[in-house]
């Protein structure tokens, strides 16, 4: 594990230095990625001026959901987002070179995602989370203080798992990057809104199959001291570690199966 992390950092640093060679595009990317995400929440805020409450949630409460979901999604993107390119590598045959190097394939493919110039994206989400928590009238208690970092950590793991499972899928369908993004970015956006506004089959899908509801919705209910409008058991609010554990296990199995398939078919 320490070895994998070391390799990840070595490769991430190489990627960072590569990007820094092109100064203009480096600076532009840093600027635009920050500006774009800054506009993201403004849209929700404008929407709320027309409809003051969404699914029974105020703007500050929605900001908590948004903050939790976006922080997790963007941290995951920052850590492993580049694995969506694995389909391209498989198609071009450059994945062979990954298997030639002494290190886990997943680490090698994911490491280039770690771009410091994209650090503004999760930071923006964290700032909104902080402001919203202070405005939402959270009845602070020790369990809520502990739940907050645990939620961010588990949420990030869940989103990482979604990315990895999606990338495993693109091994099989090399052009499926777009349909994979429906779940990665789509899952992240979905978790920005109260689960109660969705149709029931949709809620079940995103609770039990692709557990992004544990990234923001269930923990937020506890943070905000709200009853569950859907009446699901209380312990769901603390079940993010279970969801994170299950989804990373499934993703790891899918990834290994995908690499094994590549090595036996040569694509």
């Amino acid at each position: 594990m320490a070895e994998a992390l070391r390799l990840y950092l070595v490769l991430a640093r190489a990627e960072y230095r590569s990007a820094a060679q092109h100064r203009a595009s480096f600076a532009l990317l840093a600027l635009t990625s920050t500006l774009l995400v800054a506009l993201d929440f403004v849209v929700i805020a404008f929407l709320l001026q027309r409809i003051p409450r969404l699914g029974g949630f105020s703007l500050a409460e929605l900001g908590v959901l948004y903050g939790l979901a976006s922080t997790a999604e963007r941290l995951a993107d920052l850590m492993v987002g580049d694995i969506e390119k694995v389909g391209v590598q498989v198609k071009a045959g450059t994945f062979d070179l990954v298997l030639l190097r002494p290190g886990p394939a997943l680490v090698q493919v994911a490491a280039p995602s770690c771009r410091p110039q994209m650090l503004g994206r999760p930071l923006q989400a964290l700032v909104i989370l902080g402001i919203s928590l202070s405005q939402a009238g959270v009845p602070w208690s020790w369990d809520r203080v502990a739940l907050l970092p645990a939620t961010v950590a588990c949420g990030t793991l869940i989103m990482v798992a979604v990315w990895v499972a999606g990338a495993a899928f693109t091994f099989v369908a090399v052009d499926a990057r777009e349909s994979m993004n429906a779940f990665t970015y789509g899952g992240g956006v979905l978790a920005q809104y109260p689960l109660s506004i969705y149709a029931s089959w949709f809620r079940h899908l995103f609770t039990f199959v692709l557990p992004v509801a544990f990234v923001s919705w269930f923990p937020a209910l506890h943070l905000l001291g709200r009853p569950d409008p859907l009446g699901l058991p209380e312990w769901f609010r603390f079940a993010a570690p279970v969801a994170a554990d299950a989804s990373t296990t499934v993703a790891a199995v899918a990834w290994r199966a995908a690499v094994r398939r590549y090595r036996s078919t040569g694509s």
């Binding site: 390799l7 070595v10 490769l11 190489a14 230095r17 590569s18 990007a19 060679q21 092109h22 045959g93 450059t94 062979d96 070179l97 298997l99 030639l100 190097r101 002494p102 290190g103 886990p104 094994r260 090595r263 036996s264 078919t265 040569g266």
Partner: protein, 320 residues
């Protein structure tokens, strides 16, 4: 450690190929590698020949742990390259033709340093090794240049250094001289010969360039249809299939096919004639003298048999 560096035992690799359109596609199984058994001793320099699609690249991928054999077993220094991929990766180096392992935007020096860190080499050892490679491959002036700005020949030298930074026991090369000019080719060949002789690195060279094979390889494997159809020295190979050369002469004026002992005219085009001969029967000098004695000779050249021709003849004699 003793024992062969590379051991293949009845290795097969099957691919499923789908033909046709839509959902009703036919599936057929193709044996890209069909029962290859061979042993490569440490320090050997092995050439691997064969037409496109013969199974050479698949064989290399099986030997490097990129692909898993469908049947049989592969051992690299006694290790299973699929189950122990990461251990094996530290013992092998590879250069795959046009695909570079270098970081496109970074100076060559940084790529080499990075690889040393990827392979976890101790600092002093890696410094010494890089200095050595820089000297042998004459990379000094290229170290500060971003890889994307290197010429093909320069990049190939860079890739060779990259593949050897971790002092692998075995080096797999797939077409390392393709697209290079004569000077660059010669440089690469000289380097490989030295690396093999002085460092004891086993080299497996896959190529279409017969000159590469002639200059470097003490042992030649010819692979076709997934099988080894020849395994022996280059002299064996040329004696069996490739010792026919062609003398091309430009005469002063068009003439009837030249009658000369030890050679036969295979083509006539105006004043130009092609005479095929075997080195065992007559030397090129004798032949030229004989032609010049009877005809006005303006120009001449000797064509070596190309590898495709050698290989073609080889398949003509194998029992298939």
């Amino acid at each position: 450690m003793t024992g062969p560096i590379l051991l293949l035992d009845a290795v097969e690799k099957h691919f499923t190929v789908r033909r046709g359109k839509g959902w009703h596609r036919e599936r057929t199984v193709v044996k890209a590698v069909d029962g290859i058994s061979l042993e490569v001793e440490r320090g050997a320099f092995v050439g691997c020949l064969g037409p496109n699609g013969a199974g050479k690249s698949t064989t290399v991928k099986l030997c490097t742990g990129i692909l898993v054999p469908s049947a049989g077993s592969v051992r690299v220094a006694g290790l299973d390259p699929t189950r122990q991929r990461i251990e094996v990766a530290g013992r092998i180096g590879a250069v795959f033709g046009q695909r570079t392992t270098l970081w496109w935007d970074l100076p060559l020096r940084d790529s080499l340093d990075l690889l040393a860190r990827v392979y976890r080499l101790p600092a002093d050892r890696h410094r010494r090794r890089i200095d050595q490679l820089v000297e042998l491959l004459d990379l000094g002036p290229l170290l500060p240049v971003p890889v994307r700005q290197l010429s093909l020949g320069q990049r190939m030298r860079g890739d060779l250094a990259a593949a050897l930074v971790h002092e692998p026991e075995i080096l797999h090369l797939d077409e390392p001289t393709v697209g290079l000019d004569v000077v660059s080719k010669q440089r690469v060949r000289e380097f490989l010969a030295r690396e093999n002789a002085e460092h004891g690195t086993t080299v497996v060279l896959t190529t279409h360039d017969l000159t590469d094979i002639q200059r470097l390889c003490r042992r030649v494997l010819v692979i076709d249809h997934g099988k080894v159809v020849h395994d022996g020295s280059i002299d064996d190979l040329m004696r069996r299939f490739g010792d026919e050369r062609t003398l091309v002469v430009d005469l002063d004026e068009p003439a009837a096919p030249i009658q000369v002992a030890g050679a036969r005219v295979v083509r006539v085009d105006g004043p130009r004639q092609w005479l095929r001969f075997r080195s065992a029967d007559v030397s090129a000098a004798q032949l030229v003298a004989a032609v010049a004695a009877t005809h006005g000779l303006r120009d001449l050249s000797v064509e070596e048999p190309d590898v495709d021709e050698v290989v073609r003849r080889l398949y003509g004699t194998s029992d298939r």
